[in-house]
Amino acid sequence: MNKILIVEDDRNIAYLIANILMLSDYQYVNAYDGFEALECINRDRFDLIILDIMLPGVNGFEIQDKVKHLDIPIIFLTALQDVHDKVNGLRAGAEDYIVKPFEPLELLARIAVVLRRTNREDSLLKYGDISVNINKHIVIQKDKVVNLTPTEFDIFVFFLRNVDIAIFRECLFKAIWNTEFVVESRTIDTHIQNLRRKLNLQNKLITIPRIGYRLEKE
């Protein structure tokens, strides 16, 4: 289970992020200012830090600088929209940058992308009689290998990580194709139908009208 440190001084936003992380069963720890964050990092091991920039005490860039040697991926979370700050953060080695306000699923998608990119995500996922090995890119159902295209594989993994959550089409696009543009909703529909057919998920992977899809709990 991935462990994530949330560094955010606003209690409500910190609580919001915690609730979002709970959706995907991530473990999390809250830190409410820079000093507390540094303490947590020294005490514990984290797979990811979600870091606000405007913090009392030590600001986000300074924290990033201090924990650089630990090689923990960082996603900045801030209200600053200035391109200069963005460049600052990314050049210093941040993995991603999310501007407030954000959609919960956007945050989850970005976390998943960052974890996968840094090879920190859990490599074995299970859903009913289906088991997925992400490193080997293999899906096995009832001891039989199911052949999925790379895109289908990515979409299925994304659903597995967000079980029981309504996924917007836009969000799926962002997570899989990493683009803001909704290409053609029919493309996604085709992939979803293929997934349902190949894995017998007709009653589990359901369409929510006007919103998108949801993978029901087993």
């Binding site: 001084d9 606003d10 209690r11 409500n12 936003i13 609580y15 919001l16 992020i17 609730n19 979002i20 959706l23 409410y32 405007m54 009392p56 209200a79 600053l80 929209q81 200035d82 501007v99 407030k100 306000p101 954000f102 959609e103 919960p104 699923l105 029981d164 959550i165 309504a166 996924i167 949801r214 029901e216």
Partner: protein, 480 residues
């Protein structure tokens, strides 16, 4: 054309004209006086000859004892006299009144017709300077009597040599003029170039400044004018630099305000969007969670409402025209106390009000807002049950100064916090401010209102002792 080149050419031309004119005039003058002198010499010689002829005639008459000399005698006497003259005259002759030649060395009689006419008109002697094809000559005729016979002496004196030497001198002069003018031109050009050199330095400096290097300082060198010019250009670049700095500060302040504003706007928005989104995407969400999320959404929405309200107030204070009226402090403080009563009671605080009979000239609505914010801050800083003081003092030393103050005995501020207190969105303790429902614009608004009234605000504070905010009003100012 360059200024120094232009000036050099103009000066060169002027020098050439001046030297030419003055030397020409001098030459002409000297030539004229030489000719005059020659004429005088001619006259003298002529008179001497005439005298010799007349004397010769008298001697002849006496020796010969005759009354009238014959024409032959006369011509002999004339011949003798004229032979003595040497070669002073290039030609000389004696003629009868009718123009008959008695004696002639080398005169062309036709040249003298005009002069003879003048003698016949009654003049005794006539001179003129004439020019033949190649020569310049003085010609003169003069009448005299020998034995009642009127004779005319005519002569010619060659003065070509004078003209020749004049020509020579003129050529010489032209040469000298040319050399002098060239030298002057060269020296002038050089001098002007040296004198105008600071100009090129100034030019280079101005170019540097134009390229944005406002720190560049021109060397204040050269003539007085150049020094003054350099000094003024330095002053100009200095003032541009100051203005640029000022504008930079303003734009930095604005950027900071916008950054802070974005932060303060987006924090509640993030919670509102996030929690409402969570409620819509989670399938199984229990009643308690929904209630909890709704509470947070409401809380954050209220914060946004408060923020927009304060911003509106601030914008109003900045842009509205002040509506001044005479307000008695006693009435004003009473009103303030009534407004603040619910908040005071909520925290069980006391408001201790002291005032005299002073009347101040203020925009009442803005001042209400000012004191609402100050007392609100005081309540937030105080512990429950504390007392807050609202005072009005007329300065003892200067009668026209009125000091209004709000004092609390709360948590106070550090020195650095006091400096930053009126900055927009600054909160000394963010977490506490959030809990007290503050958005960090209260003192900014107060400072703006005070500024609009031409008053000053002074904050003094000590950690854990309390804070005192004084509004110092100039009553004469606001009355005026």
């Amino acid at each position: 054309m360059n200024l120094w080149l232009k000036m050099a050419v103009v000066i060169l031309i002027l020098v050439v004209i001046a030297t030419s004119v003055s030397s020409l005039m001098t030459l002409e003058q000297s030539r004229r006086s030489t000719i005059e002198q020659k004429i005088n010499e001619c006259v003298l010689s002529q008179e001497r000859i005439i005298r010799e002829i007349v004397e010769g005639a008298i001697i002849k008459e006496e020796t010969d004892s005759v009354l009238l000399l014959s024409e032959f005698d006369i011509s002999n006497i004339v011949g003798t006299a004229l032979c003595d003259t040497g070669d002073f005259f290039s030609g000389i002759g004696v003629f009868t009144y009718n123009g008959v030649c008695i004696f002639n060395t080398a005169l062309e009689q036709s040249n003298y017709i005009v002069l003879f006419d003048k003698i016949q008109d009654g003049k005794e002697d006539v001179f003129c300077v004439c020019s033949d094809e190649e020569r310049k000559v003085i010609r003169g005729v003069s009448s005299f009597l020998v034995d009642d016979t009127e004779l005319i002496l005519a002569f010619e004196h060659d003065i070509s040599s004078i003209y020749e030497s004049w020509d020579k001198e003129l050529r010489m002069l032209n040469k000298v003029n040319f050399i002098v003018a060239l030298t002057v031109a060269f020296v002038m050009t050089f001098l002007l170039f040296i004198l105008l050199y600071p100009m090129s330095l100034i030019n280079r400096g101005v170019k540097e400044i134009t390229n944005g290097n406002y720190e560049y300082k021109l060397a204040e060198k050269g003539c007085y004018e150049f020094k003054i010019l350099s000094k003024n250009i330095n002053a100009l670049s200095q003032s541009v630099l100051l203005n640029v700095e000022k504008l930079k500060n303003i734009s930095e302040g604005r950027k900071k305000f916008i950054d802070n504003f974005a932060h303060e706007m987006k924090t509640p928005l993030t919670s509102i969007i996030g929690f409402s989104s969570l409620m819509s995407i989670r399938k199984n969400i229990n009643k308690e969670k929904i209630a909890e999320y709704s509470d947070i959404i409401t809380e954050e929405a209220n914060r946004l409402k408060k923020l927009s309200g304060k911003l509106l107030e601030l914008s109003t204070a900045e842009h509205v025209l002040l509506d001044y009226s005479q307000v008695a402090i006693s009435d004003f403080f009473h009103e303030i106390k009534t407004i603040m009563q619910p908040m005071l009671e909520e925290k069980k605080c006391q408001l201790n009000v002291e005032f005299d009979d002073t009347v101040i000239n203020i925009d009442k609505e803005l001042f209400k807002s000012l004191f609402y914010n100050l007392i609100d801050n005081a309540i937030k800083a105080s512990l429950p049950g504390a007392t807050i003081f609202l005072n009005c003092q007329t300065s003892q030393t200067k009668r026209n100064k009125v000091i209004l103050s709000v004092t609390d005995e709360g948590i106070g501020m550090s020195e650095s916090d006091i400096q930053l207190a009126i900055e927009p969105f600054y909160m000394a303790d963010k977490a506490r401010s959030r809990k007290e429902n503050g958005v960090g614009l209260g003192l900014t608004l107060c400072a703006e209102i005070v500024r609009q009234h031409n008053a000053t605000m002074h904050i003094s504070s000590q950690l854990n002792k309390g804070t005192k905010v004084c509004i110092i009003m100039n009553t004469e100012d606001s009355n005026g």
